[in-house]
Point group: C3
Chain length 138, copies 3
């Protein structure tokens, strides 16, 4: 049994879903661990990690619109010092979640056919996002 841990960094491009499936799959493959469990952890409170359909970018746009309607910008927030998109981003990050656990077999994440791994970027400006990755297995 062995483990690997590394911080992967990504540059997002404003609000939206930023797919990281290929980068994560490459890292998993490079560890040489064939069977195990992968943990991904988003080290930010205004972005999240989620699994959704990887084929249709319309799904991604509909998801972003849903989040915008569920936690709209506006004057109703007590925490407003970091910009109008900040408190909505904290709410969306709680809803999208900070962490994913994905079983790995034969060196590959056991994703379904139509699944991809995404950073849900909830801020408006492009940002560098750190994802802590940990793989344990053999």
């Amino acid at each position: 049994m062995q483990q690997a841990v590394e911080t992967l960094t990504f540059r997002t491009d404003g609000t939206g879903l930023h797919e990281i499936t290929d980068e994560v799959a490459g890292w998993v493959c490079g560890t040489g661990i064939a069977t195990g469990v992968l943990t991904l952890f988003c080290q930010h409170t205004s972005a999240g990690l989620l699994i959704t359909e990887n084929a249709s970018s319309a799904v991604h746009r509909d998801l972003v619109r849903w989040f915008d309607a569920a936690a709209p910008e506006g004057p109703g927030y007590e925490h407003s010092t970091e910009g109008p998109d900040d408190m909505p981003a904290h709410i969306k990050a709680v809803l999208s979640g900070s962490t994913l656990s994905i079983p790995v077999a034969e060196g590959r994440m056991l994703l379904g056919t139509w699944q991809g791994v995404f950073i849900a970027e909830h801020r408006e400006e492009p940002l560098t996002r750190s994802i802590a990755a940990h793989l344990l297995g053999d």
Copy 2:
């Protein structure tokens, strides 16, 4: 230290919560691993995995009604080619989450007294759903 990995399949019966606690507990027991961590991963983007009360089916119906009100069917979605329940199902799946991590001791999941493990089926038709299960421990 050892690990077990298997894909468990379930037949859901339309929109609702489908309890899988007993099947998962049976699989955990059958691995012979007494202490460890269980990962469950839903390999679909229109269904989720969640923990909620196992005693009252009224709780399950209220949860389903809440999801329906939060992401209703309607003309407002760009992604509409797979049926009116498809894009709402993707949104609900993100909210309910794709993965659970549950500590195991003495061969049993450390669930609270009133907790059950459920597939949240967000599509209307009965479907076969695959849950990747991974247990690591000794």
Copy 3:
């Protein structure tokens, strides 16, 4: 490779976010495991576990207000026998999630600078809450 498992208990103080970062960090440190993966699991269906900003209590109050607006108390629930705050708490617990997986290195959780670990208490009365903690690594 070794593992540690323990049930940590906390006393919440009514609806709100109850930070447990220091207690969890202390437990991780005490296991002597330097590198691994930490699983936290909330053994209740009316409270959750989440990661959010640790610096501004205004963020916490805004989050609580958002949850209250998203799942308000009212006459619309079928499950109403355990008090008006019970079914909203079950919904909020599903949204906030039951479980967290956090990579550990050098004996510390790999949290981002502004991240804390919180019990999201969704009931109104103070309660004792049990969090199952599991750490696997070496």
